[in-house]
Point group: C2
Chain length 584, copies 2
C-alpha cells in the first residue's frame, strides 16, 4: 500500500491580488517541499481569491487569471519545485470569454482546479455542483463541469473536486467510487457559519463512504467583506476516521502521511455516475515519503463564544488590512456594544491602531464617560473626548426641531465628527450596531449607522453580552486584564438620546426579543409559526411590525462579518418597497 505525504495549505488569499496570491503558493509550496510533501493542496480560487463576484464578467480579469496560472507553473519550476505536484484553484473559461450585452450566455467561465507539475499545467478540473443559495450565486457565474479528472500520483489514483461537490450527493464523489480512486482532493472557499464545523466532519465522512476513498479537505482562511473563511482543513479515511484536522481561523500547513490503495488498471468504462472520466499520470513522484513519518495534529473543538470571537476578529482584521486602512476609529458610549467592538478591534489590530472617541452630550450619564475611559485604559487604545453639545446647539438654534428629530440629531453630529476624523487622519470608521437593534430599526440613519464596517452587525444582543463575558473570563484565565468594564456588561442598555431613556422603553427585553427575531429572521418562521413556538402573540405582532418597517434602515447598514446563515445583507435579499405584513 503506497503512502502519500499530503500538505494541505490553509492560507489567506486576497481577492484580485493575482501576483500576491501566486507568491503565497510559491512560498507555501517551498515549506511543503521542505517537509517532504508529495502532493501540495491549495484552496478553491486560490489565485483570484474568493468570491470574485462580477469580476468574472471582465475578460481582462479572466485572461489575467489564466496567464497567472501558466506563469505560476513556470515559476514553481524555476524555484526548483517543479517535481512537487501542486493543486491550485483559479478562474478559467472555455475559449476567450464572451460577454454579451444582454443575457450573458456562454461567457463560459469555470470555477477550476489545476494540477501543476514539471513547470506546466498537467490537468484541470471544473467544479460540477454550483451552489446558488445563501451567499452563493454560482449559477450566475459559472458553467458546471461534467468531467471527473483522475491523475495517478505515486501509484495512487487521485480525483480532483471543488467545495460544493462535497455538499451534494451524486456527481464527482459517486463517479470517484466507480472510477476506483484512492484519494479525493476537495479544495474549498467555504464561508464560516456558527457550528458549521460540526456539520462538516459528518459530511466529509459521508462522502468518504460514498467515494470509498480518503478525502483531503483544504479550506482557506480570511475575511472578505461580509464573509469569513475558517480553515478547518482535514483528512478523513475511506472508513470515516478523522486522521488530522487543522485549527480554525489561522494559516496552517497540515502535513500528514496517508496510506492509500495502489491504483489498479482502470475499468474499460470511461464514464462513471454520468460524468466523463479523464485520466492522466505523473512521472517522477517518489512512491513513498522520505525521512520520519509526518503526523498532523488533531484540533479540539472550542466553545461557541471563542469560535465567534475569532471569526469576528479575523473578519475585521482582514477588512481593515486588505483595504489598506492604517487604523480604525469608533465612538465609545460606555455601553456594551461599543465596548465589545473596541475589544475586537484591539484584538484584531493592536491598541495603537484603534482610536476610541467619547462623544458625550447633555444626556450622557457620568458612568457612561467613566466606563468609556475605563475601557480605554484596559485595552490601551488611543482615547479622546469630543463633547457634542456645541454642535448640537448650533443646529437647534437654526432649525425648529423636536422629539425624535432632536434625538437623531445627536447621533448624526457624532457621525459627522467620526467621519471628519476619518478624513483628517485616515481611519476607517467602525459601526457598533448589533443585529437585534438593526433588525428592529432601533438606530439612527446616518447617525450611529455611519461607518465602513460593523464587526457585530450579525451578532444578536444577547450574544454580545455572552461574548463580553467569555472574553473577560478568558483574559482572567490567562492572567490578563479583562478588556470590558463590568459596568458596561451589567447596566441596562440605553441610547442616552433623551433624559432617562432606556432600550426597554421601546423594545421588549432582549431575552424575549432575541428568540422571536431568531425565529423570524434566521428561521423564516411566519407569525403563526412563532406563536406555535410559544411566544406571546402580542409581542410577536409588535416585533414583526418593527422588523418589517425597519427594512429600509437595514439597507443602510455597513457591511460586517457574517457569523450565521441568515444575516441581514447579502444572503437574505428583500424588497425595500414591500407591503407584505405577517397578519395577527
Amino acid at each position: 500500500m503506497p503512502t502519500l505525504r499530503l500538505a494541505l495549505s490553509q492560507v489567506n488569499p486576497s481577492v484580485g491580488d493575482l501576483a500576491g496570491n501566486a507568491d503565497l503558493v510559491r512560498s507555501w509550496t517551498r515549506q511543503a517541499a521542505d517537509a517532504g510533501a508529495q502532493l501540495v493542496l491549495f484552496p478553491e480560487m486560490m489565485l483570484t481569491g474568493y468570491p470574485v463576484e462580477d469580476l468574472v464578467f471582465r475578460r481582462s480579469f479572466v485572461a489575467a487569471s489564466r496567464a497567472a496560472l501558466e506563469r505560476l507553473a513556470a515559476d514553481l519550476a524555476a524555484d526548483g519545485l517543479g517535481e512537487v505536484p501542486v493543486v491550485v484553484g483559479y478562474l478559467d473559461a472555455d475559449g476567450p470569454p464572451q460577454v454579451s450585452g444582454d443575457a450573458e450566455p456562454g461567457h463560459g467561465a469555470r470555477n477550476a482546479a489545476a494540477l501543476l507539475h514539471g513547470g506546466a499545467v498537467v490537468a484541470r478540473y471544473f467544479k460540477h455542483h454550483l451552489p446558488n443559495y445563501g451567499v452563493f450565486d454560482e449559477d450566475r457565474y459559472f458553467i458546471p463541469g461534467d468531467t471527473l479528472t483522475v491523475v495517478r500520483i505515486a501509484g495512487v489514483d487521485v480525483a480532483l473536486t471543488i467545495c460544493e461537490d462535497l455538499w451534494q450527493a451524486g456527481g464527482p464523489f459517486a463517479a470517484a467510487r466507480e472510477a476506483g480512486v484512492g484519494l479525493v482532493v476537495n479544495i474549498n472557499g467555504s464561508p464560516y457559519e456558527l457550528n458549521k464545523d460540526d456539520i462538516r466532519l459528518p459530511l466529509v465522512r459521508r462522502r468518504a463512504a460514498e467515494a470509498n476513498a480518503t478525502i483531503a479537505y483544504v479550506n482557506m482562511i480570511g475575511g472578505q467583506d461580509e464573509l469569513v473563511f475558517e480553515g478547518d482543513s482535514m483528512i478523513v479515511s475511506a472508513d470515516g476516521e478523522l486522521l488530522t484536522r487543522a485549527p480554525q481561523f489561522v494559516e496552517h500547513l497540515l502535513v500528514h502521511d496517508v496510506d492509500l490503495p495502489a491504483a489498479t488498471e482502470p475499468p474499460a468504462a470511461e464514464t462513471a455516475a454520468g460524468m466523463r472520466v479523464v485520466r492522466g499520470a505523473l512521472d517522477g513522484v517518489p512512491p513513498t515519503p522520505s525521512g520520519p513519518a509526518a503526523v498532523g495534529g488533531l484540533i479540539e473543538p472550542v466553545a461557541d463564544e471563542a469560535e465567534v470571537w475569532q471569526a469576528l476578529v479575523l473578519g475585521l482584521r482582514d477588512y481593515v488590512n486588505k483595504n489598506r486602512f492604517p487604523s480604525v476609529v469608533l465612538g465609545l458610549s460606555g455601553g456594551i456594544d461599543s465596548a465589545v467592538v473596541a475589544a475586537l478591534a484591539v484584538d484584531a489590530l493592536g491598541g495603537d491602531r484603534v482610536v476610541g472617541v467619547s462623544l458625550p452630550s447633555q444626556h450622557s450619564s457620568e458612568h457612561s464617560r467613566e466606563d468609556a475611559a475605563d475601557l480605554a485604559k484596559r485595552t490601551g487604545l488611543d482615547y479622546r473626548v469630543e463633547p457634542i453639545q456645541p454642535m448640537v446647539d448650533a443646529f437647534l438654534a437654526n432649525l425648529s426641531l423636536s422629539g425624535v428629530a432632536v434625538e437623531n440629531l445627536q447621533a448624526r453630529v457624532r457621525g459627522v465628527i467620526l467621519m471628519a476624523l476619518s478624513n483628517q487622519e485616515g481611519h476607517l470608521v467602525l459601526t457598533t450596531g448589533n443585529k437585534s437593534e438593526l433588525a428592529v430599526g432601533y438606530s439612527t440613519l446616518y447617525g450611529d449607522s455611519v461607518g465602513g464596517f460593523n464587526p457585530i452587525k450579525d451578532v444578536w444582543k444577547t450574544l454580545v453580552w455572552r461574548l463580553a463575558k467569555w472574553r473577560n473570563t478568558d483574559a482572567a484565565r490567562r492572567g490578563e486584564t479583562p478588556p470590558i468594564p463590568e459596568n458596561s456588561i451589567g447596566k441596562p442598555p440605553s441610547a442616552e438620546l433623551s433624559p432617562g431613556q432606556l432600550d426597554s422603553d421601546s423594545l421588549p427585553d432582549y431575552d424575549v426579543l432575541d428568540p422571536i427575531l431568531i425565529g423570524y429572521v434566521d428561521g423564516d418562521l411566519g407569525r403563526d409559526g412563532l406563536v406555535e413556538s410559544g411566544h406571546d402573540p402580542a409581542v410577536v405582532d409588535k416585533v414583526l411590525r418593527l422588523v418589517d418597517t425597519a427594512e429600509y434602515k437595514r439597507r443602510q447598514s455597513a457591511p460586517g462579518t457574517k457569523i450565521s446563515m441568515k444575516a441581514f445583507g447579502r444572503d437574505r435579499r428583500l424588497p425595500i418597497t414591500n407591503r407584505w405584513r405577517e397578519k395577527g
Copy 2:
C-alpha cells in the same frame, strides 16, 4: 377562422400587497368584460408583485399567494365575471414549501400563471426558462416547469408562457408549434432598459415565427426599488405583423380582436420539444366577440430622452407612493443635478409634495442661490433657505480640520439638515448624485450621498444635460414654462466646497469622461479594450484608478431607478475588498 377579443391589462401591482393586487384584477377584468373581452391577461407575478426576492423563502408568504389565487377566482365569479377567462401570474409551490437551514433545496417554489374560469383555477403553467443574469436571480428561487399548458378557448388552442420563456429559443415556443396552438400568451415582469423596446419587438416576431402562432405579450408598469417596468404590451401575428401596441410607463387596457386558426384535434404525441403537453378546454366562452370590432392603437416610438424621463418619473413616483411617503425633500445647489431631480420630483408628485432647500455656505456663489430660487419659482415647489455656516463653524471651532475634511464637513452638515427635516416633517430625502460622479467617487460619504432614493443614480452626467434640455424644449413646445433655469444648464459644474472649485480641477471633462466610463462600466471593457477604442491611455488609466478606488463609496449610495443594463448596484455585484487593478 375564430376571432378572439383579447384584453391585455397593463397594470401596476405592488410587491406584497396581495389583497390590493387582487382588487386590481377584479376591477380591470370588469372593464375588460364591459368591452366584450373573451380572454383577459394580467402580468407575471400579478398577485404578489415582482420581484419578491427572498420573500419566496417564507412559507407564510407562499401560502398567502396560493390562498389569494383561489379567493380571487371565487371573487371574480361572485362579481359576475366567472364566465370570462382570466390569466394571472402568482407565486406557487409544489406541496408545502420546505426551507432547509442550509442548501435550501426543494422548497419547490414556482413562478406560475393560472387560468381562472367559472370561479375556479382551471389550469396552471410553471415558467420554463428562468433568468439568472443582470438583475435576475430566478435560479435561486424557482424550479423550472417542464410542462406546456394548452387550453382550448372559443375554439382556439392557447398556450401559456411567462417572460423569459420568450427570450430564449427552444422550450415552450418550440413546443407550442409542435402542439399546434393558435395563440401563445406571454405574461411579463420585464424591467425597463434604455432601448429595450427596440429589441423586444423583433424578439416577439422571432418567437411568433418559432411557434407559428400569434403572441399576446403583456407587461406590467411601475417602479419597484431600482427597477421600473415599462409596459409596451403588444400583439404580434404568426407572420410577424405588429397588430397593436400599448404606450410605455402608463396603465393601459389594450383590447383588440384577433383572427386565430381553429383548433384541430391534437396529434397523438403528448410531448413536444422535450416538454410534456397538458391539454384542457373551457366551456361556455362565445366563439366570436359581440358588437363592433375592437381595435387597439399602435403607439409611435419616442425620443430616448422622453423615454428616460418617463422612466425616472415613474420610478420615483412609485418609490415614494408605494412606500407611503407624503412628500420629498432635496437640497438645491443651483447646479444641474439637483435642478433635474427637482423637475423630475415635481413631474412625479406635484410641486406641493416637493420641498427644495437652498443650503448656502461661504463658498456658494450668488448665482447659485439665484438659480435655485429661479428653479423653485418655475416649478412651484416649496422653497426654503437654510445657511449652513453657523453649524460648520461650530464643528471647525471644536475640531482641528483641514483640506478635504473641511470640504466634506459642509456636505455632511447639509445631510444632517435634510435628515432633520425628514424626521421633523416626514419627507423622504432625495439624493442627487449622477452616475458619472458616483462612478469616480466624486461625492461625500454621508454628505451629498445622504438620502433614501436617488432618481438619477443611473444617469451619466452628459445625459443629465440632455434630459434637462429635452424637458425644457418639450415644455416650450407645449407652451409651458421650462422648469430648469438656463444658467443651471450652461454653467461649468462645481461642488462649491472650496473657493473657485470646479469639477474640471479633479476630473476630465464629462464629454471625455463619460465615454470611458460607459465602456468600462456598461461595456465591461478592460484597459486595453478602452485604449483600442481610441481613448487616451493616460486618461483611461486615471479614470480606471478613480473607479476602482471608488468601489467602497458606491456601496453607500441610495437606491434609484435603473435605466440601463449595467447600473451600479444590483446588477453588477463587485467585491468591496478587491486588489484587482487594470494595468496600464
